[in-house]
Point group: C2
Chain length 198, copies 2
């Protein structure tokens, strides 16, 4: 028999997501969240360094997942391909949590404070990825570039994945985004539709 109700972090996270969804982020106090989880404000701050972090618990695990996947990529892979392969490896992870991921994404998109935190988290993943790439012999600048480009592709792909009414996989959307890249950076494109004058 546990001395306290188990999984305090999980309960706090759940309470926070519910309250943020119901009344919005700034209309919810840390006290509200704690109470709903059957805990106190002080205990909330024992588990999370600040109010935003409640939606980012376990992000280190995610980082580790990615980093390991990059390490596992064949040494022959070009930097960007290694990074994208790593992101594709998260497909199963997300597939099992689609409703959760969607709600969380909606919350974060709706609240600038949360978006800020999301961005640093992504940058921190990118930084970790870049470091692994460097260990694989990629120059510092190229490593940054590859990891950030990967981030951008993930962002675009993930956005599509969240909105996709057909529930296609993350891998599908990542590859679609990757293909877009060629339209952006690649050889001259003959697309001149939409002549919005001035």
């Amino acid at each position: 028999m546990a001395r306290w109700e188990p999984n305090a972090v999980g309960r706090l996270t759940e309470a926070a997501m519910a309250l943020f969804t119901e009344r919005g982020y700034s209309q919810t106090t840390v006290g509200d969240i704690a109470t709903r989880a059957g805990l106190t404000e002080r205990t909330f701050f024992n588990h999370f360094s600040d109010k935003r972090e409640v939606l980012f618990a376990g992000s280190e695990l995610f980082t580790q997942l990615i980093v390991d996947a990059v390490r596992a990529a064949p040494r022959s892979a070009k930097p960007l391909d290694a990074v994208l392969a790593a992101y594709e490896a998260t497909d199963a992870f997300f597939e099992g949590r689609r409703p959760f991921a969607r709600q969380r994404y909606a919350l974060i998109s709706a609240h600038p404070e949360l978006q800020e935190r999301e961005l640093v988290k992504m940058l921190s993943v990118a930084a970790a990825v870049a470091e692994v790439l460097e260990q694989r012999g990629v120059s510092k600048a190229a490593a940054s570039l590859a990891s950030e480009l990967g981030s951008a592709i993930l962002r675009v792909g993930f956005d599509q994945w969240c909105k996709d009414k057909k529930d296609r996989s993350l891998v599908f959307h990542l590859r679609a985004a990757r293909r877009q890249l060629e339209a952006v950076v690649g050889r001259p494109q003959a697309r001149s539709r939409a002549r919005t004058t001035a």
Copy 2:
């Protein structure tokens, strides 16, 4: 004869940069900054929505500068080239403020709270750029991708620019970063000697 000392925003910014540099961000209270600028805490919050914003005054102007430059890019330019040309257009802007920009960059790099803010600002620029690209007929996904890729290149280039002991121009570093891109993404049918300069 002005009724108050002029340029409150400038004085607050200067005071904040000095104090953040001296004692660090979190060791500096808003009251400290205001006092040093000869004002009160309340007045600080009349000018800035929060403590972090003091280092980001005028960022809308910067956004506008970029957006206008993208609009001015030739319609034949590929998305990424249009974006990069726009960032290159900020060269003069930064060249005149190198010491300031370096100190500010060091501060932001050293303080996660400030980095968060920096990232949303960059994302907001990227979003504005993406919108312009869409108006130019680029698909939504490609526009996001091009603008974010541009951001990544700017980040890498700017970082090099700040560290460059030889004080080479931002344009120089942007182009160097751009060239790195090819090492990263690889070129399926590369070898085309096509000129990529805008």
